[in-house]
């Protein structure tokens, strides 16, 4: 027998989580460069529903076979703290540093952008590239490939300006980041 009054009081689902503001933090992760390590790090994000906005990875110490992964992730303060601890738990992970929390740091990104156009548009593209200190790394009579290094915001701004001038392709590396000052990882 069911006590009917119960059905009003109980729900099938748990209470929904409270929402906090979403922040973006940059994490530097030193890992053993072994097969599957990137999949394990990325799998942790997908498996637990965390967001990655940018990811960069390359071996940084060839003798010790260490790679550095730079991840720009977003979430509440609580989620970012969880991401940090969850990453530290992985066996091939040696060190995790939250650059955003640990003070001033530099973020740089490299982008290649192809702009196709003629006449005034072509000249204007070249002038803007010059003012952004972008390098022209490929030229044909009706196209340029620009190389630009800088903060992600600077690259975003450049892309916005190039769009009406015939931008057809963008390739970005994702960010490389490092803390300011003498302390190293």
């Amino acid at each position: 027998m069911v006590r009917k009054s119960l059905q009003d009081k109980i729900s099938v689902y748990g209470a929904a989580p409270v929402s906090d503001p979403i922040l973006s933090h940059t994490l530097a992760i030193i890992v053993d460069n072994e097969p599957g390590v990137l999949a394990r790090v990325v799998g942790l994000f997908t498996g637990r529903g965390y967001n990655i906005e940018s990811l960069t990875v390359a071996e940084t110490d060839h003798t010790k076979k260490l790679s550095r992964i730079t991840i720009l992730c977003s979430g509440t303060v609580h989620i970012i703290e969880q991401i940090h601890h969850q990453l530290e738990r992985l066996v091939p992970v040696h060190y995790v540093s939250n650059l955003t929390l640990e003070g001033a740091h530099i973020e740089r990104e490299l982008a290649l952008m192809k702009v196709v156009g003629q006449k005034e548009k072509r000249i204007e593209a070249l002038q803007i590239a010059d003012s952004f200190r972008a390098k022209t790394v490929d030229t044909t009579l009706d196209s340029f490939v620009f190389e630009l290094t800088g903060s992600p915001e600077k690259i975003d701004a450049f892309i916005d300006l190039m769009r009406p001038l015939g931008l057809i392709e963008v390739s970005r590396t994702g960010i490389a980041a490092m803390a300011r000052g003498k302390k190293g990882i």
Binding site: I10, S11, V12, A15, P35, A39, G47, E59, E88, R89
Partner: protein
């Protein structure tokens, strides 16, 4: 790049084995193949038993097993059972459990067991065969991307392409499986690597420094925690599987500390047995089907001392109403457990043994004493909740109540001189077992807590019985769960394992039915287990013993007989089909909003 190119060449041109450690290996010869290295490395890591199922891609290892006597291989009838048996072995001994399965379907069948071990933090090593390195990626026969598939359900996994790295990888796998928060580790081993000759490095010469989790607590935090504990007016210890995993010493220290303070203690499903459940300071299990007194004490406490538990949703209920007035101390070996679900006022990353030892030392050194008058009124409050007798049920007439069957089972166990181990499947019977059976020692209770795997209990019982041949091992089962790994009857018969399967048979998927009754308008969609087998005949067909009890009088007789059997025995206890498992905190409700059984005493503050 992080995904380095596979070094396939190394395998093919494996160099002549370097000098093998002077110590004699189990094969009594100088050069070892990859398959022999597996056996040698396991022996050197203290393995005496391995649960497995052969297949094409692991034949070299089976060949090596055949030629040695140090490791006993137990042939299961399904790879999932190999993992659960390894878990049962691990949980009942505190050692690492080992499984051996073939590639493809062997590995995919193992996934449920691996995930179970991950969620319950059980140290397990699973060796999976793989197609030869030159066939990887070609969709070869019985090929599966095992490291890819198991990455999410292991603590760490390896694909070994170089036979000379094999021994170091196995040693690290054992180290990883049992250190820090324990968990499952998979070693995927291509067939050509199993055949290849290679050099063997013993564990003592292997570098294990890259994984060294913190075990010692921060003493300033311990001092702050002990001060908070000493000043508490309404304290409660909330202990979990971490205390069991930390070893028998942790359980001893927990008991010492709880008795020293005189405070109440409750345990999670995974933590039962760390503190003696028959002691008056123990409030029983907490959580969704925990006792009224444990949940109310959690809700009303002012200091909560969580040791090795992880604020699982089945424990906390509605989070924003979870223990709203308490300061929380959380001790866990896994830093990511702290502040994951519930904010801790003091979070301490440490092994439970070390943390408890440090807390006891501080308590003694500072000569703390509990606030006697506050504690007295706190116990008075708790006794009020206890007087509700939330586990009450009425056994009358000729229909056996499941709770009654378990009380009879406990009585028989109490009278028996043997050491006893209990495993369970998943569902109502599991919750009743947690409520009605009493564990006074750690490592004697094995259940699938995190993953909730139906089919866990029987193979786990096999693992426990293998580890403890003379013990009494009982799998408390449901009629639906037991069918999920019933094929293991053959294993139990083959190895003459006198495991007792105590089925609380209500012909329903009882917990599914209970939720449908309470939450889905009594629409019993697919929860009636039609066409159940005759469990007595089934047991006999496998070469075991089967018996049935339909009335309380038959139950006594059947239990008495069951205690005497010397081979696998199914006891089919036909229980009341309408019985539900109470008390219950419905999903999304708080600890003080429990539903009580109609048989419990009245309590005016409840919503019922």
């Amino acid at each position: 790049m992080a995904n380095a190119k596979p070094k396939m060449k190394l395998v093919k041109q494996a160099p002549a084995p370097k000098k093998i450690a002077e110590a004699k290996n189990v094969f009594g010869k100088k050069d070892l193949t990859g398959a022999e290295i597996v056996i040698q490395a396991m022996v050197d890591n203290g393995v005496d038993t391995i649960f497995g199922y052969p297949g094409g891609a692991v034949l070299p290892i089976y060949d090596a097993l055949f030629q040695q006597k140090k490791i006993k291989h137990i042939l299961v009838r399904h790879e999932q059972a190999a993992l659960h048996a390894a878990e049962g072995y691990a949980r009942s001994t505190g050692k690492v459990g080992c499984a051996l399965v073939t590639s493809g379907p062997g590995a995919t069948n193992a996934v449920t067991g691996l995930t179970d071990a991950l969620l319950d933090s059980i140290p397990v090593i699973c060796i999976t065969g793989q197609v030869p390195t030159f066939l990887i990626g070609t969709d070869a026969f019985q090929e599966a991307d095992t490291t890819g598939i198991t990455r999410h359900c292991t603590k760490q996994n390896y694909l070994v392409r170089d036979v000379n790295k094999l021994s170091a990888i196995i040693h690290e796998a054992f180290h990883v499986a049992k250190s820090g928060r324990p968990g499952p580790v998979v070693i995927d081993l291509p067939k050509d690597v199993q055949f290849a000759p290679g050099s063997y490095t013993p564990p003592a010469k292997t570098d294990l420094t890259r994984y060294q989790p913190r075990t010692m607590p921060d003493m300033s935090k311990i001092e702050a925690a002990v001060e908070m504990i000493a000043n508490a007016k309404k304290p409660i210890f909330y202990t979990g599987g971490g205390v069991i995993n930390a070893g028998a010493e942790a359980a001893k220290l927990l008991t010492e500390f709880v008795r020293m303070t005189g405070y109440p203690c409750t345990s999670t499903l995974m933590g039962l047995g760390a503190y003696p459940m028959t002691d008056k300071q123990h409030l029983g299990m907490l959580g969704m089907h925990g006792t009224f007194e444990a949940n109310w004490a959690m809700h009303d406490c002012d200091v909560m001392i969580n040791i090795g538990a992880r604020f699982d949703d089945r424990v906390t209920g509605r989070l924003d109403a979870f223990s709203p007035h308490s300061k929380k101390i959380h001790i866990d070996i896994d830093a990511s457990s702290i502040n994951k679900i519930v904010r801790a006022d003091i979070g301490i990353v440490a092994d439970a043994t070390e943390a408890l030892r440090a807390m006891i030392a501080v308590w003694k050194k500072k000569k703390y004493t509990p606030n006697a008058s506050a504690l007295k009124s706190w116990w008075k409050e708790i006794d009020g909740w206890r007087s509700v007798k939330c586990l009450n049920y009425k056994q009358s007439g000729n229909i056996i109540k499941p709770q009654y069957a378990l009380e009879k089972l406990q009585a028989a166990i109490n009278k028996d001189k043997r050491e006893s181990f209990i495993t369970t499947e998943v569902g109502q019977h599991q919750m009743w077992a947690a409520q009605f059976l009493k564990f006074d020692k750690p490592n004697h209770w094995m259940t699938s807590g995190g993953l909730g795997t139906m089919g866990y209990g029987f193979p786990a019982a096999i693992g426990a019985q293998i580890a403890h041949p003379n013990a009494l091992v009982v799998d408390v089962a449901g009629d639906a769960s037991i069918l999920m790994n019933i094929q293991e009857m053959s294993t139990a018969v083959q190895y003459k394992l006198p495991v007792k399967i105590f089925i609380l048979n209500n012909q329903w998927m009882g917990m599914v039915k209970q939720w449908q009754e309470l939450l889905h308008g009594e629409r019993y969609s697919s929860s009636y287990t039609e066409s159940l087998p005759d469990f007595v005949k089934l047991a006999e067909a496998y070469g075991g013993i089967g018996m049935r009890a339909e009335t309380p009088a038959e139950l006594d007789k059947v239990i008495a007989e069951m205690m005497k059997t010397d081979k696998v025995t199914i006891v089919d206890v036909c229980v009341d089909q309408r019985e539900n498992c109470f008390p219950m905190i419905p999903s999304g409700k708080a600890h003080n909003e429990m539903i009580l059984s109609a048989d419990a005493e009245k309590f005016d503050k409840t919503l019922v």
